[in-house]
Symmetry: C2
Subunit: 265 residues, 2 copies
């Protein structure tokens, strides 16, 4: 299995604190030694860092942990390989262009091998993981249904959730997906989220002895949501998603009221 | 204008020496302050680093310069913006997937704005540069002509050269392109290359006081070709490409004998 980390924020925000916690699980407090990756959106642009080395030993991870890249949307993943060798091309997150947007995807779980019989359209996998295959299938479905972006985000979100429901029939499918504005989080077994906003307080990482006082790091208008496989802090109230649930975040805010259908199974 | 740097090698090779020279031109010995990027292929996988900050001041560039990533094919670019704002999404190299391969592209030059009237098919630009538009057009042409990869690399190379010839009619079009195995280098005004192989000697960068003795860094079977807008060293014999000329490199070797058509206009 793997671990996922996502962020959605209304101001460019660095994820150094959460990333520090996650990286400990890549060979330190967790067994996810088979590579890691992270994608930072800055407007429509995206920076990705990938490394097939364990995050706990990775010089690239060490650089990312100490270099505050500020972003509205982040997707990160640490890997414990099941399907697909430990190679750079099998390292999440995966990216493809659709509608002149860079879509980024990371998956936690394992899907039945009959997935590889599902026909693909436009997008072909570069590596050999079930995850990248599922992403190519999913984004191909979106492209076929919506050659142009739909005006209504709730309509798009509902379509994506329906496709994720199909993937869920093949096994464990926890997913983070973004096209630069929205963060789509879909759960089958394990995915929790937390929104930080004023009044801010202190947070302490579970995986190492690091505490941050967000009062010092933020302004009163900041809204930052973090999504993770397992809660990263031990003194905050994380909300667990349920099986088949999807939440869409925009500027740090879950679109629960706007798209009511999205948070029920 | 911008500067290009490419590498093709028969063994995984780091490009720290050449990259050190190139980065000086990003605000140091050259005026290319508007961002930089580099793509390293490792098998079918690719690592990209992009930064809209000047390379001479970039912490990411400093990291890449000091962290030896070993690769068979590298494409790098430093930017002096003409078309398109200084933003992450306008920073070369650009990437798209075709045939389950990650294609990477960087361009030096400027093309007439009527380029933006050329119809695109499958691939859409994410940013606003003429370069990314040209790439989307080019890779769309390749996809339309070859839905599956052709068996003959010379046939593919010849087709790519013909498309580059069309782009050249719109202005200055120096290009580096790869799909992970081959490095395609097309010239209209400025592009030079150099193959290093045994017996190796010393090389001195033009842009800063750095000399490397490749005897210490290589084995007798290594073959490494470097392609750059301007020669990076002042004590080696670089070969300049001519207008309309394309050379394809594979494992460090120019495919001149195999694909004779590729090196004539």
């Amino acid at each position: 299995m793997c671990e996922l980390l996502g962020m959605s924020a209304n101001v460019p925000t660095d994820i150094c604190f959460s990333f520090t916690g996650l990286m400990q699980r890549g060979g330190g407090t967790g067994p996810h030694r088979d590579g890691w990756g992270i994608a930072f959106y800055e407007g429509k642009g995206v920076r990705c860092f990938h490394d097939p080395a364990p995050s706990i030993e990775s010089e690239v991870a060490n650089f990312v942990r100490n270099y505050p890249i500020k972003s509205h949307v982040v997707i990160s993943h640490i890997r414990q390989a099941n399907v697909g060798e430990i190679r750079l091309e099998n390292t999440h997150p995966f990216s493809r262009e659709l509608w002149g947007r860079s879509w980024t995807f990371a998956h936690n779980g394992q899907l039945d091998k009959c997935l590889f019989d599902w026909p693909l359209g436009y997008y072909q996998p570069i590596g050999s993981t079930d995850s990248e295959y599922a992403f190519c299938w999913l984004i191909g479905q979106i492209r076929e249904r919506y050659p142009e972006p739909p005006a209504d985000i709730c309509e798009l979100a509902d379509f994506i959730r329906q496709q994720c429901d199909k993937l869920r029939e093949l096994g464990v499918y926890n997913m983070l997906l973004s096209e630069s504005n929205y963060l789509f989080a879909y759960c089958t077994t394990k995915l929790s989220w937390l929104t930080r906003r004023a009044p801010f307080g202190e947070a302490s990482l579970k995986d190492c002895d690091v505490t941050v006082d967000f009062v010092q790091e933020t302004t009163p208008n900041d809204v930052v949501t973090v999504v993770a496989t397992e809660p990263l802090t031990d003194n905050e109230a994380w909300q667990a998603l349920t099986c088949g649930q999807m939440v869409v975040f925009h500027h740090g805010i879950p679109l629960i009221d706007q798209c009511a259908a999205m948070v029920v199974d």
